[in-house]
Each structure stands twice: as C-alpha cells, then as structure tokens.
Symmetry: C2
Subunit: 416 residues, 2 copies
Amino acid sequence: MVEQEVVSKAKKCKEAARGLAYLSTEIKNSALTAMADSLIKNTQRIIEANSLDIKAGREQGLSRALIDRLLLTPERIKDMADGLNVVVALPDPVGCVEAMWNLPNGLQVGKVSVPLGVIGIIYEARPNVTVDAAGLCLKAGNTVLLRGGSEAIHSNKVIAEVIANAATTAGIPEGAIQLLESTDRAAVNVMLKLNEYLDVLIPRGGAGLIQTVVQNATVPVIETGVGNCHVYVDSDADLGMAQNIIINAKCQRPGVCNAMETLLVHKAVAGSLLPLLCDKLKDFGVELRGCERTRRIVGVKTATEDDWGREFLDLILAIKVVEDLDSAMDHIYRYGTRHSEAIITNNYSHSRRFLKEVDAAAVYVNASTRFTDGFQFGFGAEIGISTQKLHTRGPMGLKELTTNKFIIYGEGQVRE
Amino acid sequence: MVEQEVVSKAKKCKEAARGLAYLSTEIKNSALTAMADSLIKNTQRIIEANSLDIKAGREQGLSRALIDRLLLTPERIKDMADGLNVVVALPDPVGCVEAMWNLPNGLQVGKVSVPLGVIGIIYEARPNVTVDAAGLCLKAGNTVLLRGGSEAIHSNKVIAEVIANAATTAGIPEGAIQLLESTDRAAVNVMLKLNEYLDVLIPRGGAGLIQTVVQNATVPVIETGVGNCHVYVDSDADLGMAQNIIINAKCQRPGVCNAMETLLVHKAVAGSLLPLLCDKLKDFGVELRGCERTRRIVGVKTATEDDWGREFLDLILAIKVVEDLDSAMDHIYRYGTRHSEAIITNNYSHSRRFLKEVDAAAVYVNASTRFTDGFQFGFGAEIGISTQKLHTRGPMGLKELTTNKFIIYGEGQVRE
C-alpha cells in the first residue's frame, strides 16, 4: 500500500511535469501568490492540525528544540507565505538562453535552461520545508513529491492540500505538488529507486537521513549537509578582525553546517590571540579543546584525533596551533568536509594561495564562514547546500533546480 | 585482491587530485603533448600488446565488429595522439570566474570553475577511450581511474603505462592516470561504492553496463547512452529537405545513439513523401516497419508496440503517420528517451512549439539528429552524452568535467 501511494503520486508528478515545464512565468507567479494567500486564509486550520502534531510530539517525548521546530504560529505561517512572495519576485530560471553560437555549417546552437522535471524532497519534521520546497520547485518549472517527517504529518497534510489546491486553481497542472501520507522508511525506500518517475532526489535533514539516501538511491541525488568548517588565522592577520570573525563563525548559530568547528592559528600569533579570544569564547559558553601547543598558552581540555574530524553542531571548538599556511591547508585537506573554509590574513600571496588551493564549496578571505547560504550570496532563495561536486556545489538557488537542453536551428543540414 | 587494487589506486588518484587541481595550464598542456609524443614513440610496443588482445579475441570468437574496434594500427595510434593534441589547443576549463558580484555588506563573491576531482571511467573494449578519457580528465584538472574491458587489457596496460609515465615526467602528480588491471565485474562493484575516493563515475558502453552502474553505484554517476530519436515531418515541410535529413539521420551511422529510430509523418504529406522515400531507404538496406496508415501507402512490415520503444541501433526504421503536431509530440513524449528529436517544418509557430515543448537533450528544426555530439556542437571534444538531467544534459565537453567553488573576498564581515 505504501508502495502504491508512492508510485501513483510519483507518476502523477511526472505527468504534471510535462505541462508545467513550459508554463509562462505569469501563471507560475500567480500560483505562488495564490498559495501564499491561501496559507494566510487557512491559518486557523493549519494551526489546528499542527496542534495534533505538537500534542503527539509531547507524548512521544520529543525534545524542546524539536517541538519548537514543529510549532506553527500565525506569525510563522505568515513567514512561509512571505517566503513564497519572495520567490514570485525572483527571475524565472527557465528558458534562459545561456549561450547561442553558429557552427561552420550554418547550424545555430543554443543552450537553454529547462526544468529538472520531477524532484523528490525527503525531509524531517519541519513543516516550513513543505512550503519552501514546493514554491522553489514550482518556480523552476518542476513538480515535487514531498516526503516529510512523521512528526509533522498533520501539519504537512493540511499545508500541502492548501497550497496544491491554490496552485491548481491558478492554472498549474494537477498533481504538480504532492505529499506522501506514508511517512515510514518504506516510502523513502520506494522513492530512492523510482528512476522511471523521479529525476532528482534532494534529502534535507540530519546526516543519518542523507547517508541513507546517498547509499541506497538509484535516482540521482544532490547530497547536502555535513560541514566541518575551519577558520585559519595567519601570521599576518589583523587580530581584532580575527577575533570578531571567530566569535561570529562559532557562536552566531552553532547548530548549522556553515558554523566553524576548528580554529587553526599560526604559531607566530597564537600567544597574542588565544588568551583574550578564549576568555571571550568561554563567555559565550563555548567549550574549548586544544592541541598541546594551544594548551601551553591557555587552559583548555585536550583535543582528541576524533575532535578534528567532528562536526560538533554545538558550542564546542577545537583549536590547533600550526606551523604555517601549508600546515593549515594540510589540516583542512585531511579533516575538512569541503564545505566552507576561511583564512584571516593581510598577506596577499597567502590569500591567493588559500583561495586557489583549498578545495571547498566556499573559500573566504577575511570573512565569517556563516555567509555560505543562498540568501546571503544574493540568490534570493535556497533549496539547500550541495556538498557533492556533481551538478553544483554550495548554495543552490532557483538556477540549480534547472538543467539544460540544446536547441538547434537548421536549414536542412545533414552530417557528412 | 581485486578490492585491494581498486582501493589503493583510487586512493592514489585522490592524493594526486589535490595537486593537479590547481596546476598551470602550461604544465597540463606540456603533459598532453608529451603523452601524444610518447604514444607515437611506443607504436611498436602498443601494437605488439594489441596483437595479444586480437589473438585472444579471435580465440574467444569475438565478432568482426568487436575485433575491428579492438584493433590498433599505426594510423589509429596516430589518431589517438592527434586527439590529445586537439585537447592541448582547447581552452583550460579550470579557474574561470563565471560571475563575480558584490553583496550589500561589501563582500565580493565569485563563482569559479574547479575540477570535479577523481573521475572513474568504466568502459568496454575500446582502447582509444583509455587515451581519450585520460586526456580530457587531465586537461580539466581531474585524476582518472580507468577500468576498461577485459578484451583490451593488454593494449590498455601498455597505453596507460606510456601516457601515465609521460604525464608524470612532464610534472603531473604521480598516480593521476591509473588503469585497473582487474577487469572483472568485482572491480567495477568496488568502484561503484568508493565514495571516499571517487567523485564521479562515467560509464561508457552498452545499455547493460550503464544500467549496472546506475542501479548499483553510490558514487554520483553521469548516465550516458540510450537514444530513441525521432524525426517528425510536419505538414508544412520541404519534402526534399525532409528526405535528405531522414536518410542522413537513419543511414549515415545507424549504430550510434543519435541516429533516428522512428519517423513520424503528418498525414497531409505522407502520401507524397513516403513512396519515394521508402524506395530510397530500401536502397540503403533499411528494413521498414510501419503503422497501418503507413502500410496503406507503402508495402512494409507491421510495426509492433515494441518497435516504437526500441533503439534499433541498426538499419531498421519504424514509421508512423500522425494526425498533427500534437500527436507527434505525444508520441515522442511517450516513447522517446529525451536524447535528440527533430521537426522538419516551414511553419514558424510549429517550430517554436516543438523547440519549447519537446523535452530532450537536443531539439532540432530542419536538421539531422546526427549532430548531437560534442565535436559537432563546437566543444572541441566530448567525454560522452549525458542522458540524465543532473549536472548537465547532452554532449559533455571539458567544461562539463568541472564543478564550481565560491570564493569570497571580505574585510572582516560577520553575519548579523
């Protein structure tokens, strides 16, 4: 029965994708506006459904943080609606001719952006993702099969119904936005192998979920997730700037993938930077773990081999004093997850080498790693941050929800 | 032992990838030139090794076509070397700043092309792929783990040794080009799951090989392959042009993925087009299979449901007479594999609708489907034709062997 639901909904998504792919920007935008309006209009219904999820979550003993993630208020529903209106204002990523050129035989070839087709989104107990993902996929001309976490199922069902109805009324092909009511792993397992109907899978959530998808999917996957990010303070750094950036990268929001997990400090400045910095970090409640050289300067716990490789996602920081730029880059190469890496320096050639030689989705000079984010980068929206290399790497906006086709204008050309 | 070989070579590829990623164009080009020279210099050795493969192939009763594919001659070795020299002349796809923009907070963000990293190429008994794939991967800054078919193992071993040594001598990190000596399926199976060391897999070969890779890989795959391509002759077509294009698309090289497999003809022109066309196609040795309406016009076998969905890869053509443009596009939607589709028409709005509404890697107006090819499109080279939507679709040149990173120049910016 689970399989039946997944297959039949995925099939409908595929059917709807054909027409949605070349729908006008006007219709897509009016649908997004209607979805936003309908969310506001149905605030009461959504909150009633949400209260069932909250009640069940409390009975199951979910953590306060998880309950907070689940909770919807009129304000949060308004935020979701506002998010859709932001997407309305973004340029349509479909149908852009990226390049057009002439071949010697007179053929004119153009490379045009087109929708990916059907996107499967597998996510956890965040009802806002339902709206967010549906809106972005729709604007990029894709249909979407949503599979949210069981904890949010009551909320998700009402939200999906509300936005899907609004979309259909506005002229989007029926079936373009669909939510699976089956929330168990079996539903995910069916999605993972449904190459016939799904073009791409995007898992959004914890490392466990993402690994399950990566390890078992035959449908192409965009992996998102893990960030073991470093800030390296070079010998030529402005130490005041370094301190601000370190505190921001660690403390502004420690639970996210672009937060710093390990601080690397050039030996020449460790003595002047670490004492004051560590006091401040402790004031922010950060637990510090250092290498032996760090511990000779400040009183912190010993960092283990395991700490260098960990994404703490918490107020914990590992600190290592390094010989030079090369040792810092070696450490990042060995332990980094190619997400976001920063150097603080005023040395021109060191900045150039770091930007060139460090392989990561985002490489910074003199700025906090916390900026790796589609909104911050100016994309206006973000469906996730790719941590793989295929398709794209780093924050993914609307453009990254498209692929290309080639169009060729001829006058009877044949191949010799 | 097989696993040990694959893992240790993949690990070396990964280690070599770090330095290769930011090597200068100059060094990469001098390595490619040295590889080409070394192939010519070692012609005799390569031919001796190749004769072992040919002998074994004949003993195993390989078909004449397969033996011909395997066979190396001084001329064919020169062609491989020439291919490398063509790659030298192509622009370096690495390090291109595709875009750079300023954020309101003063951060300057750039999107830069960087190598994918380590590419695994899984292919069949074509020794030229060894040179071709290694050269393209190298120019795009990637290391490559090659796994060729067992039938070509003697040739491949010598070729890989020759080009890898030339590359290393020219300054490419050791281990950047590696060939697996294990040619059984077990070696492939290890590659498919080696996410730790391999960034991307590209299978090149028959449908069976490609499906094995797609169905079992956890490493991201670029699927290449199947093309069930159509030519649709519209009511407003120039029938002389249509005839030339059809003959070219079917007969010029029937065994390739961009050859036409089904001809769709508007009912208004079927009577005037088909009799003469079918005679000509028969002269080319094409076996014709038609729908009932076709059979009322010309004497051909009945096309079965199965024929519409088949990639014949042979001198066989299915023919269907359709009501109008919409029926033609419906047929293509139902049976096509989204590879290459063509309309022959002089009707402006029909040409626009076909280009927009037909979803395929390449959509043509008034030209043969046979042009879907990286060399023909002007990319100068081709590693394969992607038939999936993730990453890219259609012919893949050097640019498609790269991904991106974001580089960010700051002056101490932190996130609010």
